[in-house]
C-alpha cells in the first residue's frame, strides 16, 4: 500500500467536514430568519421561513448522502488493489488479481520448501550408508589393530591387515570428500529461507492492506447507516459458521492458550490423566 493511496482516502473526508459546516451555517441563517419572523409576528413570513428551513435540511441530507455514496464507491474501487502491493515484479498477466497472485506466491513457497526438504533428505539418505560403512570398517580394523598391539597377530594376518589399512585410508578419504559434498549441498538447499521470507512478507502486507480497506469500507457504510437512519438492532444475529471443536486447525502458533498443549510433555500428562 503506497502512501499516496492513503492520502487520497483520508482526503475524501476533509471536504466532507468542511461542507458540513457551511451547510450548518445555511441552516443557522434560515433558523435565525425564522426566529426574526416569529418575533415580528409576520405569519406568512413564518410559514415561508419554515419551508425554506425544511428545504435547506433536505438539501443537506441529499448532499451528505451523495458524498457518502461517492466515498463508498471509492472504498469499493480501492478494493481492486491495483499496483502498490504487487508481490512480484515479473507478472505477465496484468488482469490477474492480487489475491490470485498471492495464492500463486504461497504455492511457490510450498514448492520451494518442498524441493529443499527433498534435496536435503536425498543427501541424508545417500550419506547415511557411507557413514555406516565408515563406522563398520573402522570398528573391524580397530579390533585387529588391538590384536597387533597385543602382539597376537601372525605374519599372514599382519600382511592382510596392512593391505586393509591401506584400502581403508583410500576409502575414508573418498568417503569424507563425498560426505562434505553432501553437507555443502544441504547447506545450499537452505537458500529457500531468504526467498520464501520475502514472498511471505509481501503477502502479509497484502493482507494488512485488505484489512485497512475493509475497515475504511465499514466506516463509510456506518456513516451511511447513521445518516439515513438505518438502525441496527443490537440483538441482530450475526451469522457464524459453526466449527467443530475438534476440526483440524494445523499448527498452533500460540501455545500459551488455555486449550492448547504446550508440547509433548503436556500431551503425555493429558493422556496419562485419561488413564493412558
Amino acid at each position: 500500500m503506497s502512501d499516496t493511496d492513503h492520502s487520497d482516502m483520508s482526503g475524501a473526508d476533509q471536504p466532507h467536514s468542511a461542507t458540513q459546516s457551511s451547510d450548518w451555517s445555511e441552516l443557522k441563517d434560515r433558523a435565525r430568519n425564522l426566529v426574526a419572523k416569529l418575533e415580528s409576528g409576520d405569519s406568512s413570513g413564518v410559514h415561508s421561513a419554515i419551508e425554506e428551513l425544511n428545504e435547506a435540511r433536505d438539501r443537506n441530507i441529499y448532499l451528505e448522502v451523495g458524498k457518502l455514496t461517492r466515498g463508498l464507491h471509492e472504498a469499493i474501487v480501492n478494493f481492486e488493489l491495483d499496483g502498490g502491493v504487487a508481490v512480484g515484479s515479473d507478472d505477465s498477466g496484468k488482469n490477474e488479481s492480487q489475491m490470485t497472485n498471492a495464492q500463486d506466491r504461497l504455492d511457490y513457497v510450498i514448492n520451494l520448501t518442498q524441493n529443499s526438504a527433498d534435496k536435503t533428505m536425498d543427501m541424508v539418505e545417500e550419506g547415511i550408508p557411507i557413514a555406516t560403512e565408515l563406522k563398520e570398517r573402522s570398528r573391524a580394523l580397530k579390533v585387529d589393530w588391538e590384536r597387533l598391539q597385543r602382539r597376537e597377530m601372525d605374519p599372514d594376518e599382519f600382511r592382510d591387515l596392512y593391505k586393509r589399512i591401506d584400502q581403508f585410508l583410500v576409502f575414508s578419504g573418498d568417503s569424507s570428500s563425498q560426505l562434505s559434498e553432501k553437507l555443502n549441498t544441504i547447506l545450499l538447499a537452505q537458500d529457500f529461507q531468504d526467498l520464501t521470507g520475502q514472498v511471505i512478507k509481501r503477502v502479509i502486507n497484502l493482507v494488512q492492506d485488505v484489512e485497512e480497506r475493509l475497515v475504511e469500507l465499514m466506516r463509510v457504510a456506518g456513516q451511511v447507516e447513521e445518516l439515513t437512519g438505518i438502525v441496527r438492532s443490537k440483538d441482530e444475529p450475526i451469522a457464524r459458521v459453526e466449527v467443530s471443536p475438534i476440526a483440524a486447525e494445523g499448527p498452533q502458533i500460540d501455545t500459551e492458550k488455555e486449550d492448547v498443549v504446550s508440547g509433548q510433555d503436556d500431551v503425555d500428562d493429558l493422556l496419562s490423566s485419561l488413564g493412558f
Binding site: Q114, A248, G250, P251, V261
Partner: protein, 124 residues
C-alpha cells in the same frame, strides 16, 4: 512388522519412514490421506498405522474411527503424529482409541519412545 504411514506431505512421510528404518522397521508403505489409506489397510496385512490428523479428503481422526469400526482392523495399533495440539482434540483421539499421540514438531527420541511403549503394551 508392516507399517503404513499416512500424511499428506511427502516430506513428513519420508522423515517418518527414515526414522522407522533407523528403529529397524524397514517394511513400510505410504498413503496421502485416510481415503487412500483405508483400502490399503483392508487389503494389506499391516501391523501398525502411523497417521497425521489434518489431511484433505479423509482426516486422520476419521481414519482412526473407521479402523476401530472395522471388524478385521479394529485391534490395529495406531500412532497419531500431528500438529493438532488442542486438548479437546487429544481427548477426542484418546476416546476414539488411539494408542499414542505425538505432536509436531517432534524428535526421533520421542517417536522411538512412543512406538516402543505401544509395543510393550501389546506384548504385556
Amino acid at each position: 512388522m508392516k507399517i503404513l504411514i499416512v500424511d499428506d506431505f511427502s516430506t513428513m512421510r519420508r522423515i517418518i519412514k527414515n526414522l522407522l528404518r533407523d528403529l529397524g522397521f524397514t517394511n513400510t508403505a505410504e498413503a496421502d490421506d485416510g481415503s487412500t489409506a483405508l483400502p490399503l489397510l483392508q487389503n494389506g496385512n499391516f501391523d501398525f498405522l502411523v497417521t497425521d490428523w489434518n489431511m484433505p479428503g479423509m482426516t486422520g481422526i476419521e481414519l482412526l474411527k473407521a479402523v476401530r469400526a472395522d471388524d478385521r482392523l479394529k485391534d490395529m495399533p495406531i500412532l497419531m503424529v500431528t500438529a493438532e495440539a488442542k486438548r479437546e482434540q487429544i481427548v477426542e483421539a484418546a476416546q476414539a482409541g488411539v494408542n499414542g499421540y505425538v505432536v509436531k514438531p517432534f524428535t526421533a527420541a520421542v517417536l522411538k519412545e512412543k512406538i516402543e511403549k505401544i509395543f510393550e503394551r501389546l506384548e504385556g
